[in-house]
Amino acid sequence: MNTANILLIERGLVKLIKNPSAPIMGFGMSLFFLLVYNAGIGGIGSMEAFGAGGYLSFVFPITIISLAMGSSAGAGQTLNADMQSGYFKRLYLSPAPRWILVVAPMLADTISSMAFTILLIAIGATFGVSFQFGLLSVLGILLLSFLWSLTLCGFSAGIMLRTGQYQSAAIVTNAVFPLLFLSTTFLPRELITAKWLLAISWGNPVTYILEGNRFLLAGTSSASFFYIGLLIFSITSVVSVTFALRSAKKIKV
């Protein structure tokens, strides 16, 4: 990769490290979820439906999903600061290829989201979350999270570039938020009585990360969720990154 690209990704990461409030808040929120869900409803984990991993392993995926969301709400914080200050134009007037100006901060956001996901996985493991394929499970979870993060960050960045307003990055997070709960988030499919919720859950892409992760964790869901999840989010990642790049052409500088 050329030097300008590396410099810009580096800069994105350094900026995040200097001002990590978004990813840290995302992380704090996830940790909080993990604690309160487990404390509040963890008792039902002795039921057979939760498998050997108990409720903690069952509810763990939602914390991973919300972690990526927290980070992507702050996604493009560098991009936005640069647009506000006009510095983005200065970068635009450099020989760096223009796509990297958009991709670099997105990658930085995604990389930071991954770092916190690893931390969360480590914490989960110490509290007894089970990973049925060991390291492979961890890699699988990271892969799904990466695609999920990239999807969110790409749409956020794209919308921001098109509107020229940094507040609009949160549109994506807000739009996606309900999806977290329109799924088999807290209870396994067998225990959900509302037919409409079950129906919606099949069409909700979040279901496939949730259950895909559950397959990798305690094995309470089938492998097909994981593969469908990979497929869906590979596609959405491509769409989202393409959207972000196309937005760079329509940029309001």
């Binding site: 030097t3 800069r11 200050s85 134009k89 200065r90 007037l93 020989p95 500088v253």
Partner: protein
């Protein structure tokens, strides 16, 4: 030989309906010190932004150093230095870091970059400010930094859009010393827009006058003065005022 900056029939209309450029054609030769004059809202910045590929034209064509900038983005950026009308600085970074980073973006190695950053801080009298955050600089020094950032890669063409706004007289004199030296020694082609006509008169030789998106005059400054007032000797300022009064209608003088 093709001009260093060649512009043919450029049109630009903003989405909100303002027709900013209505068929602008200009030729600026290599090494010239050219200034584009015109009232606020005449389309000067729009033209600069199109030439530097920050925004797209609607129709027409232009070339810089014989290249089509839209198809040679990265090559063109290495040739031109741009100080836009609004400052383009990251306020959270230190002056020195901004300069070094900009040098590195243009392909200078680390040692080269810090050497160049040093030169520029000295040239623009920013030595004392180098470890300050850019956001903490005075208005004039921000402007100096903004212009210094345009020079990191020793461009052969400089676009300066109202560069001296906010600089005190000393800073301004220092700035022109740097620019005229580049223009006479390297020689760097200068494309300047300014509202300070004394500056234009003193440093530039060629000019164009744009009003409401149309070029009303292009040629030498001396020629312009003669055209406006064939007998007497008037300053550029007075010639400009007299000329604008005669050609403008109320529509163009607003904004």
């Amino acid at each position: 030989m093709i001009a260093e900056i060649q512009i043919q029939e450029l049109f630009k209309k903003y989405p909100k309906g303002t027709e900013a450029l209505k068929g602008v054609s200009l030729e600026i030769q290599k090494g010239q010190f050219f200034t584009l004059l015109g009232p606020n809202g005449a389309g000067k910045s729009t033209l600069v932004q199109i030439l530097t590929t920050l925004i797209n034209k609607d129709s027409g064509s232009f070339s810089i150093a014989g290249l089509n900038p839209e198809a040679n983005q990265s090559r063109i950026q290495k040739m031109i230095g741009v100080a836009s009308q609004d400052n383009e600085i990251d306020p959270t970074e230190k002056v020195e870091n901004l300069l070094v980073f900009q040098c590195r973006l243009f392909g200078l190695t680390k040692p080269e970059a810090s050497k160049r950053a040093n030169e520029l801080t000295q040239l623009f009298e920013l030595d004392k400010e180098r470890s300050k955050k850019a956001g903490a600089l005075s208005g004039g020094n921000k402007r100096r930094l903004h212009c210094a950032l345009a020079l990191v890669h020793r461009p052969r063409i400089l676009f300066l859009d109202e560069p001296t706004v906010g600089m005190d007289p000393v800073a301004r004199a220092n700035f022109w010393e740097v620019i005229t030296q580049l223009n006479t020694q390297e020689p760097v082609t200068v494309f300047l827009t300014t509202q300070y006509l004394d500056e234009a008169d003193k440093h530039a030789t060629e000019m164009a006058l744009i009003i409401a998106g149309e070029i009303k005059y292009s040629g030498t400054i001396i020629g312009f003065k003669k055209m406006v007032n064939p007998n007497g000797v008037m300053s550029l300022d007075d010639s400009y005022l007299q000329f604008v009064k005669t050609v403008s209608n109320p529509e163009t003088s607003k904004n």
